[in-house]
Symmetry: C2
Subunit: 182 residues, 2 copies
DNA sequence: CTTACCATGTAAGGCGTTACATGATTCA
DNA sequence: TGAATCATGTAACGCCTTACATGGTAAG
């Protein structure tokens, strides 16, 4: 079956928990999945159509205050497909840190430039960290109320750990670049 | 100029340090850049041709034991282009953790499955970590001999920190899933 | 009244992977 | 002699982002 398209599985996964519109799916990606997966509207809507055609989801229209919503629901076939994918080993985790690229090649540009890149990286990280910490704490407190919470918590914890490591690294990198390093 | 293609910059960056063949470039990506950037031959060779056409690199042929090598060298225009890119703020760092996806949606599949995914993730991480630690230590010891080493060290240190966080997370996640968590 | 948000989609174009195709050398 | 490594490239195909296109509602 030649490597399943991941976005299919992400969306199927989200739909396995609750009915959603395309717009809401995008919001989940920008919040709960933010630190480990992302997608744009331009890929979400066509993917939803693909899911429909494949019989993995159905949709219905609803009006809410004059706004038309297309609400997607996962089908039994969709659940089955998702479970099959979930059971398979991970093919590949991918990272692409442009920040590290700019540091790796940054010796000619000098420490000032490197420190700027690190500062921006730190800022983004520090901005996202409180959300992650709060999410992890919330999920911890309710993990006995619904099996899924424990699994969400796992991923939030990952974010907390990794973002924490980012911040530590920023501090050490700054020390090294300013010569305050041992 | 509509967002520079990153692989151009990665390759230009590598060439700014030393002359390389396409094959060697691939090797650098599989070792030194491994934990923050990757690319396949199918993208490297066409990109090298693009660099040639753009005037950012030149190449010459050499024979070594009957093997034909095409060795690429960065041009002044290439260096200038690289420096301009280096000076611009990072547009986006990207991560895509399939492992976390499988955990996030993994409640129906149960803890056993989740633990398997974590075990494989841990294994890959533990396998790569010694290389990172050794690299960081080596670069630390020689960072006064050549400015670039300090910048390499920064990225190796990033790898050490982040992979360390991965391992910590694996341990905690296992505790949570096996109910040994507080 | 205007900005932000809710809501859905298409089109163009770029980027990248996989698979294919070829061929030499080195080492066990 | 067979496997691994060195070495270069193309073609098909898929996936995704950006930009475009549209239109309603809520809040300040």
């Amino acid at each position: 079956m030649a490597t399943e398209k991941k976005l299919n599985c992400v969306i199927l996964g989200l739909l396995s928990h609750e009915e959603l519109t395309g717009y809401q799916i995008k919001k989940r990606m920008d919040t709960a999945l933010q630190y480990f997966w992302g997608a744009s509207f331009g890929s979400i809507y066509p993917t939803l159509n693909g899911l429909l055609k494949a019989g993995f989801a159905t949709r219905r229209q609803e009006q809410e205050n004059g706004r038309t919503k297309l609400i997607y629901t996962i089908t039994p076939a969709g659940r089955q497909h998702l479970q099959a994918w979930l059971a398979q080993p991970v093919e590949r985790d991918e990272v692409r840190y442009e920040t590290l690229l700019k540091l790796f090649f940054g010796s000619d540009a000098g420490p000032q430039r490197a420190l700027e890149h690190i500062a921006r990286f730190r800022q983004k990280t520090e901005q996202a960290l409180p959300y992650l910490i709060k999410t992890e704490q919330t999920l911890r407190s309710i993990q006995d109320k619904g099996a899924a919470h424990q699994y969400y918590r796992l991923t939030a914890l990952f974010g907390v750990k990794v973002y924490g490591a980012y911040i530590e690294w920023c501090a050490e990198a700054e020390q090294i670049l300013t010569g305050k390093d041992v």
